[in-house]
């Protein structure tokens, strides 16, 4: 099995556990072993944009340094760092780019981290799990599909952090297709939502539920108008805002029809015929199981 270092991030150990369990199990089925970093900390959660604020880059650099240490101490089939959470990916990649490009910043951060035995050199490569799947090949994945999700109308949602800024994003920021290609391979009917890369409201969810409910309403109804029955995401915060905030959406728009929002890996578990306990389909505010059972699943 091909071993690759893996960074989970805090959400995948708390609110989005099933994103992790499903992704690891799917990877295993595709002959990839995701090896969690033995030491890691929060990625920083929000990328600091102020040019003179280096303190907030210490967290992601510390994580990248842990990968560099692993690269030096062990042999890897693939020594890149694979990440699942869109936000962790974004923060890690952006900081990585900055400290690789700007020597002065890299030196300052390394000087600050004087307890570490080695200095970070900027050479760790960060990839998203979806990119890894694309490299494996959607045709190869299709060959592994034992229970195609025929007739399931899936609308992939990207949000901001997988796509923007352009030099960090994993796909075309205007017209992404990586999830679409995956779902076609799984046998789904892919529904294009014009708002698939609209912001979900992010951390506004903490102090302005109404704003986030409004955004969620727009995104979800836009998908529904296009014919979607279910949305997918790779971001625990998007998932929270689009799923949990449906409570507030319903309060404001009583005619709104709830729609399930799941991690793309959960559907992969089903299509690849893996143990459905890894999918954690029961962990959603809007339960996707009635819909999936309607489609011939037994979950």
């Amino acid at each position: 099995m091909k071993r690759i270092p893996y960074y989970p991030g805090c959400s995948l150990k708390t609110k989005a556990k099933h994103f992790e369990t499903s992704a690891i199990e799917v990877a295993r089925a595709l002959d990839v072993e995701m090896v969690e970093l033995p030491r890691w900390n929060c990625c920083g959660a929000v990328h600091s944009l102020a040019t003179d604020d280096l303190m907030h880059h210490v967290a992601p650099v510390t994580d990248l340094l842990r990968v560099q240490e692993l690269k030096q101490s062990q042999k890897w089939d693939d020594a890149r760092l694979v990440v699942l959470c869109s936000m962790c990916l974004n923060v890690l990649k952006r900081t990585n780019k900055r400290v690789k490009d700007v020597l002065e910043d890299r030196n300052k951060i390394n000087d600050f981290m004087y307890l570490e035995e080695t200095r970070y050199d900027g050479n760790v490569e960060v990839v998203h799990y979806l990119e890894l799947l694309k490299e494996i090949g959607f045709d190869k994945i299709q060959e592994k599909v034992t229970k195609p999700l025929t007739g399931l109308k899936v609308s992939p949602y990207y949000g901001c952090l997988l796509l923007r800024p352009k030099d960090i994003g994993i796909d075309d920021p205007e017209s992404p297709s990586i999830q679409e290609d995956l779902f076609k391979a799984l046998g789904c009917t892919v529904i294009n939502n014009p708002l698939k890369s609209r912001c979900c409201g992010s951390y506004h969810t903490l102090n302005d539920k109404a704003l986030v409910a409004e955004l969620a309403h727009d995104i979800l109804t836009s998908a529904q108008k296009a014919g979607a029955e279910i949305l997918t995401t790779s971001c625990p915060l998007c998932a929270y805002n689009l799923d949990q905030r449906q409570k507030e959406v319903l309060n404001k728009y009583p005619g709104f029809k709830p729609i399930p929002v799941v991690y793309f890996t959960e559907l992969m578990i089903l299509a690849l015929g893996l143990d459905k306990n890894f999918a954690g389909l029961e962990k959603h505010y809007i339960d996707p199981r009635p819909l999936l059972n309607c489609k011939g699943e037994n979950v």
């Binding site: 989970p8 805090c10 600050f112 307890l115």
Partner: protein, 232 residues
């Protein structure tokens, strides 16, 4: 005739005032030699109680060091201050009633989620604990890692005094160790058995005998007991 021992004196600065103290003294003994009466900021003098947290800088260095007053030997021109106490929030809880989940600290020490991973806590820790690592473990609900990583903590409070995110690391870690011990760690049957033996009075006779011994006999017993160990 009284024996006179010559001791070399070295200059140090306590609270910015210069004193000459015997070379090789610890911070605590140096302060007492200099005339300070320590009521707070000193405890076991053995490096276990954490009461004598001190900050110091060495001559010609920009770094601020943390150390235990009873374990840190003074160096010439060292600047010293004691931080015997750090005001900190202390959650009140009933261990029996805690529902242990991944986000346990939201209820008791929510400030730990402010951690920036700057590692300032680890830099100051006199016990060489990976403080930031255990705070991060707590954030993601890994109580076992948090408990094990913080195990050597003596709660001196220096991490808390220095933390830019104003976290009370040591109190959060104490909660983690308590929860780990109560709910997660495997229970040893031997402890239960021994507890039962104690409660059943198995050792009453032995205790009664020991209590009746004179100090001299007790000392003899103690040292004989030590000698029974083979130290390799």
């Amino acid at each position: 005739m009284m024996e006179v021992i010559e001791v070399k004196l070295v200059p140090i600065f306590i609270l910015s005032r210069r004193f000459e103290v015997p070379e090789g003294s610890t911070i605590i003994t140096a302060m007492e030699y200099a005339g300070f009466k320590l009521k707070k900021g000193v405890g076991c003098r053995e490096g276990f109680c954490g009461a004598c947290a001190s900050l110091y800088r060495l001559e010609g260095e920009y770094k601020l060091h943390g150390g235990l007053g009873c374990q840190t030997v003074v160096q010439p021109n060292m600047q010293i201050v004691q931080i015997p106490y750090t005001p900190s929030p202390k959650a009140i809880y009933d261990l029996e009633k805690i529902n242990v989940g991944e986000e346990i600290f939201i209820d008791f020490y929510p400030e730990i989620y402010r951690c920036l991973s700057c590692n300032t806590c680890t830099k100051i820790c006199p016990q060489d604990i990976q403080v930031m690592d255990y705070v991060q473990a707590g954030i993601r609900g890994d109580l076992e890692l948090m408990a094990n990583t913080s195990f050597d903590c003596i709660m001196c409070g220096l991490c808390t005094a220095r933390c830019p995110a104003e976290i009370t690391q040591y109190n959060a870690a104490l909660l983690a160790r308590r929860l780990f011990g109560k709910y997660i760690q495997k229970k040893g049957k031997f402890l239960e058995d021994r507890f039962k033996q104690v409660m059943d009075g198995k050792f009453e006779e032995g205790y009664t005998e020991l209590m009746s011994l004179s100090k001299e006999d007790l000392k003899k017993r103690y040292f004989d007991r030590e000698l029974n160990f083979s130290i390799t």
